[in-house]
């Protein structure tokens, strides 16, 4: 990440899904987006407004149809897939709306997964780091539990631990509290804020939850940001 510069810069980003035998479906058309480093930026929007697609493009999970996305100074859209995987592994943490924990793995093993493929740390170090962050999130007595043995709040805390255990400079969170009840959402949000603010992590969170939006330094409205929703016919022909 460049010192003092933005963590994420998107320019002319479009995403159009090709459909066999049907008109291509434009889902995203963003002229420009800048996310400052170290801050907490929220993307507000209804379901289907393109929030998840944008997060996936920033994470390098998907490639835009057009445009560039610089993350920590690197245009991830231009990278070949293997390098995008490696880039994401080191620079990006991702919290999914529905946790996406692996059912066959314990809480500890799920968190260790975030360090497994980087092969930068020994097994013992991975275990120690995973145990430490889970303990910090109040799950010291849940390390060996598998996801189905945890409450939804605990599952999301494991997912947060997994996203942050390798100290990524950027955290992407997709509706992190949408699957939780109000009490769990409050607790999880508090822990997420504490961890990220303390580490200076750049956070881009997609949500339509007022509680989540309330802790953000800046809120961007997808209805204004994404032109695809406003002019689908024009986009389709673009």
């Amino acid at each position: 990440m460049t010192d003092g510069g933005p963590a994420i810069v998107a320019r002319g980003v479009r995403k159009v899904y090709a459909r066999a035998g049907a008109t291509p479906l434009p889902v995203l058309d963003i002229a420009g987006l800048t996310v400052p480093a170290g801050g907490w930026t929220a993307l507000r929007g209804r379901s289907g407004s393109g929030k998840t697609t944008l997060l996936n493009l920033i994470a390098g999970i998907a490639r835009p149809t057009a445009g560039s996305i610089e993350v920590a100074g690197v245009d991830v859209a231009a990278l070949p897939e293997a390098r995008r995987d490696a880039f994401r592994m080191r620079h990006v943490g991702y919290v999914f709306q529905s946790f996406n924990l692996l059912a066959a793995l314990s809480a500890l093993e799920n968190v260790m997964l975030a360090m497994t493929f980087a092969r930068a740390r020994s097994h013992g170090e991975q275990r120690a780091r995973a145990a430490a962050i889970l303990t910090r999130l109040g799950l010291a007595d849940r390390l060996a539990h598998r996801p189905h043995q945890l409450s939804r709040g605990e599952q999301q805390r494991v997912a947060i631990a997994r996203a942050l255990v390798h100290d990524p400079p950027i955290l992407l969170a997709d509706e992190p509290c949408a699957s939780l009840d109000a009490a769990s959402a409050h607790a999880v949000l508090g822990e997420l804020v504490a961890l990220c603010r303390g580490a200076g992590t750049t956070v881009l969170v997609a949500s339509h939850d007022d509680a989540v939006l309330g802790v953000a330094d800046r809120v961007l409205d997808m209805a204004e940001l994404n032109r695809a929703g406003r002019a689908p016919v024009a986009m389709a022909s673009a």
């Binding site: 996936n56 995987d85 490696a86 592994m89 999914f96």
Partner: protein
């Protein structure tokens, strides 16, 4: 955590399905191992159990039946020849050894084999010589003076429970001619293990028809010529005689092997189909597991696992399943072959030790692991090609 660790945990996550898949592989492998080992065992046993004599002389009829009944005791004997035929052979200068054999009834399924001490005599050309491990040989009684002594083959002694000094008979009509156990043979590999040897005089005394005739009956004469060059002439002469035929055991053995070849070809075809079905079953099981797990695979990809890593994890999982099935199957197949060998040996007396045949199970083990790993390629490629963004959302 390593990729192997993830594959193992994936297996643990679907324990029942994995167990059933491994079990189906194990059953197929066990079937293949048991069939191959038993087939080889039968072939080996025929080789080891064949006679050291070059000709078997008996009554006119099927040469195969003559050899199968006299040498392997797997068929009913042909009608009798006369002892005078044996005496003629004994006087023939071209013949080194002629051993008379008469096959009688049986005691608890173990056939009486009446012969002379020449049957057991050591000779340089004999591959193995039978030895008495307990007691002594029966006496070579002169005709009309039967001693009714019996020497038991090792398996016959073990299965009947008869011991030295025991007197035995089967059927009320034999009560007047009980036999006494005077010796027990050490284990060999042929049909002699299952025989109860008695003297010709004892046999003739136990046989109502033999008692009434002066030219006593025999089933066959085992012949070894002094010179191998005399063998064709002897063979032709004995076959031209009105009441005898001569059969080459080696030729009959070739006929048996030809039949075994056909049976083994059919068996190989069936086993190949079993292997294909089992491999497909494994591939389908893994494909299904991969498809059900596509969101987790997408998650792994989102966490930085490259496509090659995903491919390796799925292939590893499939290989582990195949290996578990293969190892269990080989052990089970060996056990099945051992049990089958015991049953066949008990009934036929021809099956060699299946555990002595080393390489086929090892080959099946390695082949199964390879096929199992290959079977994982299709689901692995499916996982490899997975669209990550599409499958990160919950599977509805």
């Amino acid at each position: 955590m390593s990729e192997l660790g993830i594959a193992l945990r994936f297996l643990r996550g679907r324990r029942l399905a994995g167990l059933l898949t491994a079990l189906s592989v194990a059953l197929a492998v066990a079937l293949i191992v048991a069939s191959v080992v038993l087939a080889r065992g039968v072939r080996t046993a025929f080789v080891e159990g064949t006679t050291d004599y070059n000709l078997v002389v008996g009554a006119k009829g099927s040469a195969t039946q003559l050899v199968m009944s006299v040498v392997f005791r797997l068929d009913t004997p042909l009608p009798n020849i006369r002892v005078s035929s044996y005496e003629g052979l004994r006087e023939d200068r071209r013949i080194e050894v002629a051993v008379p054999v008469a096959l009688g009834d049986a005691y608890r399924g173990f056939r009486y084999v009446a012969t002379t001490s020449a049957y057991f005599a050591p000779a340089p050309w004999r591959r193995t010589t039978l030895a008495v491990t307990a007691g002594r040989w029966f006496r070579d009684d002169p005709p009309g003076q039967p001693s009714h002594e019996a020497v038991l083959g090792a398996e016959a002694a073990r299965r009947t429970g008869l011991r030295l000094g025991d007197r035995f008979y089967e059927g009320e009509e034999m009560a007047a001619h009980p036999l006494t156990v005077v010796g027990i043979l050490g284990p060999g590999r042929g049909a002699d293990d299952r025989a109860i040897f008695i003297s010709l005089a004892s046999y003739w005394d136990m046989n109502e028809i033999a008692r009434a005739t002066s030219d006593k009956p025999l089933t066959a004469v085992l012949v070894r010529p002094r010179r191998m060059s005399d063998l064709p002439g002897l063979h032709r002469q004995l076959n031209l005689a009105d009441d005898t035929q001569a059969a080459f055991p080696s030729v009959v053995l070739l006929t048996i092997f030809n039949l075994l070849d056909v049976a083994e070809d059919v068996m190989a075809l069936v086993l190949a189909l079993v292997a294909i079905v089992s491999g497909l079953g494994l591939a389908v099981s893994m494909y299904r597991a991969t498809w059900e797990r596509r969101r987790e695979i997408a998650t792994l990809r989102a966490l930085g696992a490259g496509r090659p890593a995903i491919l390796r994890i799925v292939v590893l999982e499939c290989g582990l399943l195949a290996t578990a099935g293969a190892v269990t199957g080989v052990v089970g197949g060996e056990a099945l072959a051992y049990a089958g060998a015991r049953v066949l040996a008990g009934r036929l007396g021809v099956v060699a030790d299946p555990l002595a045949l080393g390489w086929p199970p090892l080959a099946v083990l390695v082949a199964t692991m390879l096929v199992g790993t290959l079977a994982g390629l299709l689901p692995a490629l499916t996982a490899h090609r997975l669209d990550v963004a599409e499958h990160l959302a919950p599977v509805s």
